[in-house]
């Protein structure tokens, strides 16, 4: 994935599209947009940085899982099995990007006059399976993360964050294919990756 920060307007459409696609409950977010203020007054500007899972080549979250609930797919996506995850949250402490969040089972309507609305119990279809949103059932009590909408990729579609971007700031493709657009974009000099010094070899590139 390549994200052109020069085109990102910080509209959060990708965040919302992701929440809608994966029916994320309160407190769980896969792709927040980080807002950053650069420079000093009066010469200031804003930079918005969407932060999906970096799908690291040497993902630090994978070897720490005590029950093998997370692994790297052949196509490079860091996958996980909700049924296998016991919810120890060790992968969360291992990830330097905060790309993993824990599903505490919170509802958006908790504390309101009419809590637990039916729409909050609508199942999601991550990883190509049907997941009921009920207490005691996966993925409640699990760690959750961005998976580049792998269920859509497997059906030949693009991730929701890519299709929803109003500024066409997010590109998606096979970086190993020299003829692909992402391969061309990451061959440029203005690309960066987050926290490369950690040795995680992220697969998400930013153009600045």
């Amino acid at each position: 994935m390549v994200i052109d920060l020069r085109k990102c307007t910080g509209c959060n459409a990708c965040t919302i599209a992701c929440i809608a696609e994966n029916h994320l409950p309160a407190g769980v977010v896969y792709r927040p947009v980080m807002e950053e203020e650069l420079g000093t007054y009066p010469n200031v500007s804003m930079r918005s940085t969407p932060r999906p899972c970096m799908q690291c080549e040497t993902a630090p979250c994978v070897p720490v899982c005590p029950v093998h609930a997370t692994w790297i797919r052949p196509d490079g996506i860091v996958d996980m099995d909700y049924d296998q995850c016991i919810g120890c949250r060790y992968c969360m402490t291992a990830c330097p990007y905060h790309a993993r969040t824990f599903d505490f089972g919170y509802n958006y309507t908790t504390g309101t006059p009419e809590p637990n609305q039916p729409y909050e119990r609508v199942p999601n279809f991550e990883y190509g399976k049907r997941w009921e949103q009920r207490r005691g059932r996966s993925p409640t009590g699990n760690v959750r993360k961005c998976h580049f909408c792998s269920h859509k990729l497997d059906a030949g579609m693009l991730p929701s964050c890519v299709t929803s971007c109003i500024g066409y700031a997010t590109y998606f493709g096979d970086a190993n294919d020299p003829d692909s657009l992402v391969a061309e974009l990451i061959s440029r000099g203005n690309k960066i990756r987050l926290k490369e010094e950690m040795g995680t070899r992220p697969r998400v590139y930013y153009l600045i």
């Binding site: 980080m34 932060r51 049924d83 060790y90 402490t93 330097p96 905060h98 969040t101 009590g141 760690v143």
Partner: protein, 472 residues
């Protein structure tokens, strides 16, 4: 000097006569020249006498407090881990803090029973039984937290290498799994060591039993001990082997607990100083807890002849040594953060001392670095009220140490956009306080039904048991 004393030349002999070297008296470990029967009567009397009123009061109060833990955990399982104060940056909270705290407490017991045994530190005999009991009960309390900390506790058994239909096999690369094995091995070996040490004393209680029930119950656990030469020889060998097995465990358990943090990339955790620092801290807090428990028991059961001032001095000195090591580690963390020139690491430590959790950091420094310094002074070591207060403060400080490590680093790591704050909920507090009730219930049952001290071992270190007694 050995050659001088064995075959002194005339001039050396004259010199020795002239300087008259001071006699190095060994400290008396059982005062007032108490006899073997006095020791047996004293220790067995504790469990043979009618249950005192204070015990019932303490047991009821502890049982009530322990119910907090049960209620807290039931509510947690029924509702989800969201009832704790966890949030998405600080996803490890009190559960992990309390786990490390309780595991640390246990270390003194194993150190006393294993390492001090191998080093032939005879003063351990008066305190080893209670300290080992403390270890086992602390491990019980510690085990509760990581178990219930997971989001789906009913699947926690997947952490064990049990073949199952889901084809789930644990990942041996994960530090969390090392923990499972370290803690379960530690608990097993500690319980075994404790039990082996109890066998001769259980036989004594069996032989003194006045009711059939007591005879049968203690008799079963005494494993037919008759005190024959063969029994003693096997016993001593088993005890020595278990001491040898337990010795690496003293170091390994907290080392592995520290790996939970140290193998992570989080600033403030990713440091090589953690294993020795954690082990020193564990022994420090463990001895603090031994003092907290033994000083009141000494007063209640009038055990001054068996737990002498010398014993208390030794424990205070160990607290001083390990507390100073911990203080050194705090200073060294800051130095390395500065010297390493990693801005994230530097920030993590500055944030600990001056960030939103500074109050916890300075409580930790006051309790762990300043408090033990009082033990430099003999007058302080002899003031038992002060020693008791300091021992409690040491444990307060050590709890805060784990809190500072776990929470400050998680709530302020690489991504400022994800920063947060951690506050415990009522459920957190209830569950933690409840584990003190669980610990107290178990310890009170131990006091009531098992010999508080290793009678057989104490008898061997009395002045009467010394063949050189009376100048022979």
């Amino acid at each position: 000097m050995a050659s001088l004393s064995e075959n002194p030349s005339p001039s050396a002999a004259a010199l020795l006569r002239e300087v008259a070297p001071a006699k190095l008296d060994r400290p008396v470990l059982v005062e007032n020249d108490r006899s073997f029967s006095w020791i047996t009567n004293k220790i067995c009397g504790i469990i043979e006498e009618r249950t005192p009123l204070w015990w019932w009061v303490a047991f009821c109060v502890s049982g009530f407090v322990a119910s907090f833990c049960l209620i807290g955990l039931t509510y947690l399982v029924a509702t989800g881990t969201g009832v704790w104060g966890l949030n998405n940056p600080a996803n490890w909270g009190w559960a992990i803090v309390n786990f490390v705290f309780w595991i640390g407490i246990g270390h003194a017991g194993t150190l006393i029973s294993a390492i001090l045994c191998l080093l032939r530190q005879k003063w351990r005999t008066s305190i080893n039984r209670a300290a080992e009991a403390m270890t086992i009960f602390a491990v019980v309390c510690a085990g509760i937290f990581p178990l219930f900390h997971v989001g789906r506790v009913w699947f926690a058994w997947w952490l064990f290498p049990i073949p199952n239909s889901n084809a789930i096999w644990p990942n041996f690369k994960s530090a969390l799994l090392w923990d499972v094995f370290a803690v379960s091995t530690y608990g097993t070996v500690s319980a075994l060591f404790w039990y082996v040490g109890l066998i001769p004393d259980l036989a004594t209680v069996r032989d003194r039993a006045k009711t059939k029930l007591r005879q049968v119950c203690y008799g079963i656990f005494a494993l037919g001990w008759r005190g024959s030469n063969r029994h003693w020889r096997n016993y001593e060998m088993a005890y020595l082997l278990l001491a040898g097995l337990s010795t690496p465990l003293v170091l390994s358990v907290h080392t592995i607990v520290s790996f939970d943090f140290a193998v992570s990339l989080i600033p403030g955790w990713h440091t090589t100083i953690f294993p020795p620092y954690f082990v020193a801290g564990a022994i420090f807090s463990g001895f603090g807890m031994v003092l907290t428990l033994m000083l009141p028991l000494r007063a209640i059961y009038r055990l001054e002849d068996l737990i002498t001032q010398y014993h208390i001095d030794c424990m205070c000195k160990i607290c001083l040594a390990t507390g100073s090591m911990v203080g050194y580690a705090y200073a060294m963390e800051f130095f390395i953060a500065w010297y390493g020139a990693n801005p994230f690491e530097s920030f993590a430590f500055v944030n600990r001392a001056f960030g939103p959790f500074a109050w916890a950091y300075w409580i930790m420094i006051a309790c762990n670095v300043i408090c033990p310094q009082f033990f430099w002074f003999k007058a302080c070591r002899r003031n038992l009220v002060l020693v008791f207060i300091l021992s409690i403060l040491i444990n307060v400080g050590m709890w805060f140490e784990r809190f500072v490590i776990a929470v400050t680093s998680l709530s302020r790591d690489f991504m400022p956009t994800s920063w947060g704050y951690y506050s415990p909920t009522v459920v957190d507090i209830f569950t933690y306080v409840g584990t003190f009730g669980v610990f107290a219930v178990l310890f009170l049952l131990f006091l009531r039904f098992l010999p508080l001290m290793a009678m057989a071992e104490i008898k061997a270190v009395t002045p009467r048991a010394d063949p050189h007694h009376h100048g022979h």
